[in-house]
């Protein structure tokens, strides 16, 4: 069970291989992709930045919590950093379990917690030319929603 920060393209098939287990009947995965819009604005690209050391510590803590809460056989997750384009994969979470209930529940728990707790930040670059660090506005309305805006 590992959570990693990477600056490279996420290698899904290699990660998926690490989930294989002869007792596993179910595998649930989640991928977060850079999409071309957010809250009504056309997005051109996204910049992700992480405090990698603490992000990996906290991400591994989340995987440990998932293993305690759910009946899991394997769990892996990776978050990419750097300048990503529309369609690029920013995050991958994969979970294997004997049955599908815990696989889905754990996969969702992990991505929810990663988004809420792990020190990774996202700067949106808009087609209109501006850019902004998500959740870091200090005037008017800002989102305190743990879910974050991307997915």
């Amino acid at each position: 069970m590992h959570f990693k920060i990477t600056s490279k393209t996420i290698a899904v098939s290699e990660l998926a291989n690490t989930l294989q287990h002869e007792r596993a009947g179910a595998c649930a995965t989640f991928e977060g992709w850079v999409r071309n819009h957010n809250e009504g604005q056309a997005v051109a690209s996204l910049e992700y930045e992480a405090y990698a050391e603490l992000a990996e510590t906290e991400g591994n803590r989340i995987l440990d919590e998932a293993r305690e809460k759910f009946d899991l056989l394997a769990a892996e997750a990776v978050h990419r950093v750097g300048h990503l384009q529309i369609g690029d994969m920013a995050v991958w979470v994969g979970v294997a379990s004997a049955h599908r209930g815990p696989a889905f529940d754990a996969c969702r728990f992990i991505i929810d917690e990663l988004k809420a707790r792990v020190p990774i930040w996202k700067k949106e670059h808009y087609v209109a030319g501006e850019s902004t660090w998500i959740n870091c506005a200090t005037k008017g309305e800002f989102s305190t929603d743990d879910a974050g805006p991307s997915s």
């Binding site: 405090y51 603490l54 930040w121 660090w133 998500i134 870091c136 974050g148």
Partner: protein, 80 residues
Amino acid sequence: MKTLTVKYFAILREQRGDAEEQLRTESVDAQSLYEELQAQHGFTLPVDRLRAAVNGEFRPWPAPVNDGDEVVFIPPVAGG
């Protein structure tokens, strides 16, 4: 006086114009250190929207600091 390393990420890095600095300070905790640095660099985020990390672990405010510590102020996260 103590010597601390401060690392900046995301909006704080941009507002500071640097990713890391060593500094000498009288501050006894990360909270008073942030207020000191905020006055100096014009950070827009109030301290109550940040979390503190000391030596690679989250610490509750005010987060005491000692000579040689590495301090990071964590803006609201937005992974995924």
